[in-house]
Symmetry: C2
């Protein structure tokens, strides 16, 4: 017999690591349904797909976010003195590295999308896992407001494709440059504006005395800042222009200005946005904005850029809450997973012998052909299996060369030569 395994049968059952997911076929199809909408939307909006390594050198992440980010990363090293690595917590540093290293030969603007998994070494919570799937769209090399609007239009176009309406989700937009200007007018020194923005990002999450204490330390006079904001809203020229542009793209009703949105990541420089379920019941569905200094920080030429990221976890909770996640059967149909034919033998030896060659021939033609693995010769039962598999047709082989083909949608049945089955199925596809 073959080699025995190094250790024998286990007493405990192995489990997936906390915060990660096992995707059995039905669950994976629901993820694929979301990814399919992401992919189609990206392509229709003229983005090209890219990909990079699942792990990067650790310093790719610390250079941008400081050493503080290390505790949120899964980091590791290899023997023999290689540099430390970390699983990507987001794709933007890789994108900036990739753009920087080929900036000279890339089109202006470059429009890239990306769709893979990211990793966070935090404690898992509702809407927040340790491994999740993320979609990014970025326009690099275009500093125009039109690029901001194009990115927003792509994000909103995806919501529309999944059946969400402007009353279901709210896109809240702000401009970090505007907020930074008001902070400086309110007495915050230029070198502390970054800290002030980071504090404002956490304003809703920390209690008022704590907020006031940190604000004082930073030199932020909160009353003066809130007053200056209120005065600004009345004029808000950025907002007016953005609203006109969004209306022109037909998505004005999806977007509201919100001075509270400053985004946690340090690299944003201008327009920023977040998307929330309308009642704010869940974490942010998506977030993005302008990051005009980042490509340069990774060794590229000064290059404006704007983009967003969206994870699958919160989006899928929102779709389920709104009753917008289709049934398993509907999803399988939309993903093109419905079998073209389910092959059955009528139980005679020559029909039995024809099953494998017939299946092989149909599959070679690219047709999705399934069969029963049961030893049952009860054709009624086997037809039941064909229906359960949601096959379009059942082929009941009656001899080495012929059989009956049954249209399972129309409930009609005709005699057919086995040699003509592929042709018929292709014409029905």
């Amino acid at each position: 017999m073959a080699s025995p395994p190094p250790s024998s049968r286990q007493d405990h059952v192995f489990q997936a690591p906390t915060g990660t997911r096992d995707f059995y076929p039905a669950e994976l199809n629901r993820l694929r349904y979301i990814q399919d909408a992401w992919r189609r939307t990206s392509i229709s909006h003229g983005f090209d797909e890219i990909d990079g390594p699942t792990f990067e050198h650790l310093d790719l992440y610390t250079v941008k976010s400081g050493e503080g980010i290390v505790s949120e990363l899964f980091s590791f090293e290899r023997f023999g003195g290689e540099k430390k690595f970390a699983l990507r917590p987001e794709f933007t540093p890789t994108l900036a590295r990739m753009y920087a290293s080929k900036a000279g030969s890339l089109p202006k603007p470059t429009k890239w999308f990306w769709m893979q998994n990211c990793f966070r070494a935090e404690r898992p919570q509702r809407g927040r896992l340790r491994e999740f799937c993320q979609w990014n769209c970025d326009i690099i090399g275009d500093d125009s407001a039109a690029a901001d609007v194009e990115v927003l239009a792509c994000c909103i176009g995806m919501f529309q494709a999944l059946g969400l309406r402007s009353t279901d989700v709210r896109v809240r937009v702000n401009d970090r440059g505007v907020v930074a200007g008001i902070l400086e007018q309110s007495g915050v020194k230029a070198e502390r504006v970054g800290e002030a923005l980071s504090l404002l990002d956490r304003r809703a999450k920390i209690d008022a005395p704590e907020f006031a204490k940190i604000a004082t330390a930073i030199g932020l006079d909160v009353k003066r800042y809130d007053g200056a904001l209120a005065a600004y809203v009345d004029v808000a020229p950025s907002y007016k222009r953005l609203r006109d542009d969004l209306n022109s793209a037909g998505i004005g009703d999806w977007v509201a200005w919100d001075f509270g949105i400053v985004r946690g990541l340090a690299y944003y420089t201008g327009m920023v946005f977040e998307v929330h379920e309308a009642s704010s019941a869940e974490r942010a569905i998506a977030g993005g904005g302008r990051y005009d200094k980042l490509i340069e920080m990774f060794g590229g030429p000064p290059t404006p850029a704007v983009g967003f990221g969206m994870g699958d976890v919160v989006l899928s909770l929102v779709l389920q809450d709104k009753g917008l996640m289709p049934s398993d059967d509907e999803i399988a149909g939309r993903l093109g997973l419905r079998p073209d034919v389910f092959v059955i033998s009528n139980g005679t030896p020559e029909a039995d012998a024809a099953v494998v060659p017939t299946l092989a021939g149909l599959r070679r033609e690219g047709l999705h052909a399934r069969r029963s693995y049961k030893s049952s010769k009860n054709i009624g039962k086997l037809l039941g299996d064909a229906t359960k598999a949601r096959a379009r047709f059942a082929l009941i082989i009656e001899s080495g060369t012929a059989g009956q083909i049954k249209d399972l949608d129309e409930n009609t049945q005709v005699k057919i030569e086995l040699a003509h089955v592929a042709e018929l199925l292709r014409s029905e596809k």
Copy 2:
């Protein structure tokens, strides 16, 4: 202004970790071309897709392969006393864990495919990277030779879909049970058969004296073993039955029996196979076999299983060598990435103003619509960009409501209302 980054511009350019890849659009499309063949073949052969975590608890890998495997893994731990994790070097342990934990409710047989990245902490070599994409197909819960043949047929069906012929690649099949029996007949004790199989797997890679030395230590009389093999080939009943079954599936000419194929992984129990480029110029393209004890080892009921894995790296080298990797344009066409329309303004203010709403409307209809970002008003130049983008049509907007639509394949042009463009493009899709 916005917050300054924690550290300013870098002097060095960041690079992807050794043995990983950056995929710019054209490179990614070549990978997607292979993955598309993998996916279509899996589906047409009746496999359902699953996925699991990118990293698992380290002991999921050591239980099966022993502690020796740790040096080949990227392993890491999280603060706070959690168990150690490792990036998956292969998917089979995850599949066994997933099957074991739901064995009672899964169909018999269960047919699963999987297609994601794997990681190996080895020094990169030609055909062997630290991160690569892997395709697996497995039939679980069926101990029949028909299942072995179905798995082989799926693997070979994928080669056929990519244009490879039986003269391009060789599928070499063996039976570990047969070899184990001959080893025992040649004097190897049952408890050392595993070591002997592992030695035979390395036979072509180590020099003869070294091989002889280890063989003696294991109690393997090499002359006696080779003699017994030669005698066995004359009868080889397993081979004869397999050959008949493969002929019945129309793939007999792809497969040859080879007693040298025993596979490195300890978990194989019966039929094993490897696929090589015909001249054996590259590493194995794919490998697989029967692993009838593995599900049980992961806490499931005794369950026979058979499957294979194939990486993208060697396969893509072989396709390139044989001239079977299509051009970038062909691949983009096959992947459905060709733009339906390239939108151009004729330069008048009202046409300029209509570009964004027109694009937005077409994209909302799911059409792939691109535009020029150039400030040029030279329509000839812009049409050149449309051709370069391989767009099917160019739309030259002439007013707020109408324009010319130019068929770039047929080189014909007609006037059209903007409101009717989507309808025309859909009919041409």
